[in-house]
């Protein structure tokens, strides 16, 4: 069986204020990416955006987004992402920029990276906590992460079957 190869870009949306994040939806992000690619790479780039491009996942709390591009020309589309400066949603323009954290061939590798990345972030938050209660909260979150991580390993097969449905 021939696999249609994709590249998943794990990006972080950086906004000025946290409340903006909650207003984002995947359609608005996709439109913003499409607009940036169209601006930088013209009609050709926009046409490439119609081939297998989609926003696979958007976490409105952390601002994490998964973009799927076709493997053949993801580099060209990727090069336009730094030029994305705002997302328009519900008649509102949210200034933001995308930071690409990871490029993976499957959603699974991106997810693995994301969990590792989030754990790291939590570790960095720990020394900054102001009181015991907050500290406990973060510790718990870290524990949860590593538990989820362990569980993930057992469920590898399950994830892969999900993956195949994607193709």
């Amino acid at each position: 069986m021939v696999r249609v190869k994709s590249r998943y870009l794990l990006c972080e949306i950086n906004v000025t204020e946290r409340k903006y994040l909650l207003q984002l939806d995947d359609r608005a992000v996709a439109a913003a990416v499409r607009e940036a690619v169209g601006r930088i790479h013209g009609d050709y780039g926009e046409a490439l955006c119609n081939i297998r491009f989609s926003v696979k996942y958007l976490n409105a709390h952390t601002g994490i987004v998964f973009l799927r591009f076709s493997k053949r020309f993801y580099k060209l589309l990727w090069s336009a992402l730094p030029f994305l400066t705002c997302v328009k949603t519900r008649g509102q323009t949210i200034p933001c920029f995308l930071k690409c954290l990871h490029v993976g061939g499957t959603i699974q590798t991106c997810q693995k990276f994301l969990i590792k990345y989030n754990t790291q972030q939590l570790h960095r938050m720990l020394p900054n906590c102001k009181n015991e209660e907050e500290k406990e909260h973060v510790r718990k979150a870290i524990m949860n992460c590593s538990q989820a991580w362990g569980r993930k390993k057992d469920d590898d097969d399950e994830v892969r079957s999900e993956e195949d449905e994607e193709e």
Partner: protein, 129 residues
């Protein structure tokens, strides 16, 4: 990209083979507009081509450097020079240009070569009758 074979038979003799080494490609193009009176100047022509590049390849395309080496205003033919890696982008946008100041138009690409010399000696131009 570069493949060198040198034979040192005598002090003078030397042979070097360069593969795909030309930094530029040269194109001889002709603009055809359905209104015969339209005669863009060389600056207008270059700007027009850049607009075409921007439409098809966006800002990245518009940033491609190319030169109009020669332009004959009466026949609307031009010789363009482009860095080899921009050739495909320039050629494709020339192909898709279709209107100049609301008149139908087209670019005819007559010859493309990595050597400028080749544009001056195209045997397809031989007219005997």
């Amino acid at each position: 990209m570069r493949n060198t074979d040198e034979k040192e038979e005598t002090s003078v003799y030397r042979r070097v083979v360069l593969k795909n080494s030309s930094p530029y490609h040269y194109m001889r193009v002709c603009l055809v507009v359905d209104d015969q009176r339209i005669r863009p100047s060389v600056v207008e022509l270059k700007n027009f081509i850049i607009t075409g590049l921007r439409t098809l390849h966006g800002q990245a395309g518009a940033a491609i450097n190319f030169d109009v080496l020669k332009y004959e205003e009466d026949s609307l033919t031009a010789i363009l020079r482009i860095y080899s890696r921009g050739l495909v982008k320039l050629w494709s946008s020339l192909t898709l240009i279709s209107s100049y100041e609301n008149h139908n138009c087209a670019f005819r690409v007559n010859q493309v070569s990595p050597y400028l010399l080749a544009l001056t000696g195209n045997s397809r131009d031989l007219q005997l009758d």
